[in-house]
Amino acid sequence: MSDVLRIEGLFTDIAQYHILEGVDLAVPRGQVTMLLGRNGVGKTTTLKTVMGHWAAKAGSIRYDGQDITAWPTPARARAGIGFVPEDMGIFTDLTVEENMVLAAASGPPDAARLERVFAAFPPLKTFWKSEAGTLSGGQKQMLSIARAMAEERVLYLIDEPTKGLAPAIVSTMAGALRELKGQGASILLVEQNFAVAKALGDHAAVMDDGRIVWTGAMAELAADAGLQERLMGLSMEAE
Amino acid sequence: MLVNLISGDTPRSAVLTVLLLIVLVCLAGAPFLFPGVRSLETAATICIFILLVASYDLLLGYTGIVSFAHTMFFGLGAYGVALASIHIGRGWGALIVGSLSGAVAAAALALIIGLFSLRVRAIFFAMITLAVASAVAVLVSQLFNITGGEDGLTYLIPRELTPAFRMGELFGVRVNGRVLNYYLIFVACLALFLLLLRIVNSPFGRVLQAIRENDFRAEAIGYRVVWYRTAATCLSAAIAALAGALYAIWLRYVGPDTTLSFEIMLDILLMVVIGGMGTMYGAVLGAVIFVLAQNYLQNLMGVAAEATEALPILPLFLDPNRWLLWLGLLFILSVYFFPTGIVGRLRSGR
């Protein structure tokens, strides 16, 4: 099976609003799939529905060959889906260490893995015993990715990891994501920074109005300025 | 004209319309339809509780916040009348001054509580009102020089409102001041109920309902949610105080048990839920059913307990003092299975 995640005809309502209206999406194994589109078209809701934070009203989500549409969130996580939400979901009252200990759900994080995390994000080692709430925005974002790396996951759902970060930190993030991919993980990544998307993405899916309106190779989208304009309008920063 | 009187808020159900008309006619003609001291007592209690429950519905049903201080406001009005009658002296002036100062005090207290709790989280309100109401109840029983403590206060009301004032006979019923008193209460309750209907159907009332449905969105549209919730609290408190004042005029006695007790608070909650939250008319049906049940069903329980005396355990549950046990169960079941109450059921067509 080449797709780790297959979404078919997914509908999600939030309160009385119809957010997703028939999303079809496949995420190939071991590759980075970019989920692109303007603000408010349903990218975050797609990730949250895959994670089980919102219930799907109709449609199906197949992960690793199993239908997980009705599974509770923890079961999805234990099956190997890691989630980095847009707000990072850092436990600010807990220390960096405690955040990492929690992230390693199946046991204490092993040393080799921690070394890799520290190598990717040196500040986390410095502030290991500090409360996560005292970290800077960029450091919090590092912690949120580091948490996802604390345990072997099959599929990562990552929502705008470079939002609001300084350029230097953006490249640190991109490096870390590349390393995740290098370990064989599959990634579904929402990203507004087109340069990052172009550098990381293998595939791209563009959303509009609660549906996927275009899928193809990231390189193809990156090469066609007219297509970008048509699919994503002006809100997308050109290179 | 009639539709205008009820602010265009028609019952929207034939059965409900008939029931409401029956209640209206029965209450309007109570002294003549059901002569007798006890039935007049029941009718007056029903009138006052309809108003009290309707004022609570403004808060619970229309604004979506839970208060446990409604009996405190009720009591403020009642004690206002009692204290004014004692200190100013028997007379109409005392009744008016007492009622109004009770209502103003209730609104002021509601404002303070609202400002403290509603600006943070609506759920604080439930806890804080519970704490404040019980503190006030304790205070009232401790400050017995002023409030008469647990014994309460008795006082004189204008002679025209007492049984001693005779006015002759009508339809074979002896009309006295007590009947006059009843009509004072009936008219006042009806007028205030219509006022409440007007409030919930005004633009103000619609904003309250928008807040109840989604406070976040209401705030985003530009309504000051805290202000509206606090205003609703104050209004509801002032009307509850007026209901309390009427109760005090009717009973010629106030005490913690008749006005402040937590048990009355539970009664109010039950009446709102059974009748139907957020409908106003639910208050009418809830209060009628509840007061009738309380007056007559407790006797029935006593009979049932005696009848089952030979059986084990069962009589313990049927003891009239365990009335609250059944109320509690009924309450839980209605919230689960009957959340829209009788009015909701009737309107949904069954």
Binding site: G52, H53, P72, T73, P74, A77, F83, P85, D87, I90, F91, T92, D93, L94, E98, N99, V101, L102, A105, S106, S130, G133, T134, L135, S136, G137 | L60, V66, S117, V120, R121, A122, I123, A126, M127, I128, L130, A131, S134, A135, V138, L139, L143, E219, F262, L266, L269, L316, F317, N321, R322, L324, L325, G328, L329, F331, I332, V335, Y336, P339
Partner: protein, 343 residues
């Protein structure tokens, strides 16, 4: 509703003012004790009142701790929590009455054994009833505060009435175990033995709870869950099970608080839990919903203030706590140690 902007742009050492702000709640307790000393004058009465205030505070804390965590974890506000206090008291005191031989013997060992047995029985039973309460009463109304308040109030009434059915309509008077009667004299002040025991017991529970919350994985999950439950689930933890565990533990602690309170008052009534809930709510609110430390400090403040005021101006005792609540909410509208919600 209020999205707190949490921007600490650089990693600097927390400023003095910031740290003082964090420590301020802890400082309130000694400040209150000193103020009590100044206004009472007589050092022996002050010592007596302080010990009984601390004892009362500890007992309130034991009752409040579960409630605040349950709220923090699942946003569930349980107005029926007081039912567990009453139920615990009746079960525990029944056990003590059944063990009259042990409680009247002048042996500290037998007395304590009886008390511990009573506590164990009360905690097991209230824990079980808490489990049932969560399943039957609370679970169907998750996410709906209005219904939660209504239904849990209904549950409170039903449990209270069932206590009447089982134990009869009257209050039950009791005597403390033989060796826990009377007082010891220290620095000229008479300190009731039982109150000292209550302080020790309450402190032990607070320390144990803190250890669990700080040092164990389950504690980490609870603390993280209070902040951001959805993220905890996204990491693979079944927060629902953790919540049920906390609910049961909180109910058992309320039952324990009921036994302690019953022994303190030497009389128990079905309505005692309902009455205690008023203080418990005040404590939970001023502590900051979801915060165990906040509840602890709040409980001590309430206990101490209540005892000092009861001595200085008896009629104002309960009202003084309302005043305390108002003052603290003016200072910090979310309570002394609000939990930073990730929303």
């Amino acid at each position: 509703m209020s999205a707190a902007p949490d921007h600490a742009p650089t990693m600097t050492r927390a400023s003095f003012a910031h740290r003082l702000g964090q420590a301020a709640p802890y400082l309130l307790v000694p400040v209150l004790i000193v103020l009590g000393f100044l206004s009472i004058g007589s050092s022996s009465s002050w010592l007596t009142l302080t010990v009984s205030g601390l004892a009362m505070g500890m007992m309130i804390f034991v009752m409040a701790s579960g409630l605040t965590l349950v709220f923090g974890l699942m946003d569930v506000i349980n107005f029926g929590h007081g039912a567990f206090v009453s139920l615990g008291a009746f079960v525990g005191i029944s056990v003590l009455l059944a063990l009259t031989g042990w409680t009247t013997a002048p042996s500290l060992f037998l007395n304590l054994a009886a008390v511990l047995l009573a506590i164990a029985a009360a905690m097991v039973l209230t824990g079980l009833v808490g489990w049932g309460f969560e399943r039957v009463i609370v679970r169907p109304v998750y996410g709906a505060h209005l219904k939660q308040i209504l239904v849990t109030v209904g549950g409170l009434i039903v449990v209270e009435q069932l206590i009447h059915v089982i134990w009869g309509p009257d209050e039950i008077f009791l005597n403390r175990p033989e060796t826990l009667k009377g007082a010891v004299t220290f620095a000229g002040a008479a300190l009731e033995k039982y109150r000292i025991l209550a302080v020790v017991l309450g402190l032990a529970i607070f320390v144990a709870m803190r250890l669990v919350l700080r040092r164990t994985k389950i504690g980490l999950i609870v603390r993280a869950g209070v902040q951001n439950g959805q993220m905890v689930e996204s990491l693979g933890y079944r927060l629902r099970l953790v919540f049920i565990g906390v609910f049961v533990a909180g109910s058992a602690l309320a039952g324990l608080g009921g036994v302690m309170w019953g022994l303190y008052q030497e009389v128990i009534t079905a309505g005692m839990g309902e009455r205690m809930m008023i203080l418990v709510f005040i404590v939970v609110i001023i502590g900051g919903l979801g915060s165990v430390e906040g509840a602890f400090i709040g409980a001590l403040l309430v206990g101490l203030l209540q005892n000092y005021i009861a001595f200085l101006a008896p009629k104002l005792a309960l009202v003084s706590n309302i005043g305390l609540m108002a003052a603290i909410l003016m200072w910090r509208p979310q309570g002394m140690m609000p939990v930073v919600k990730a929303k």
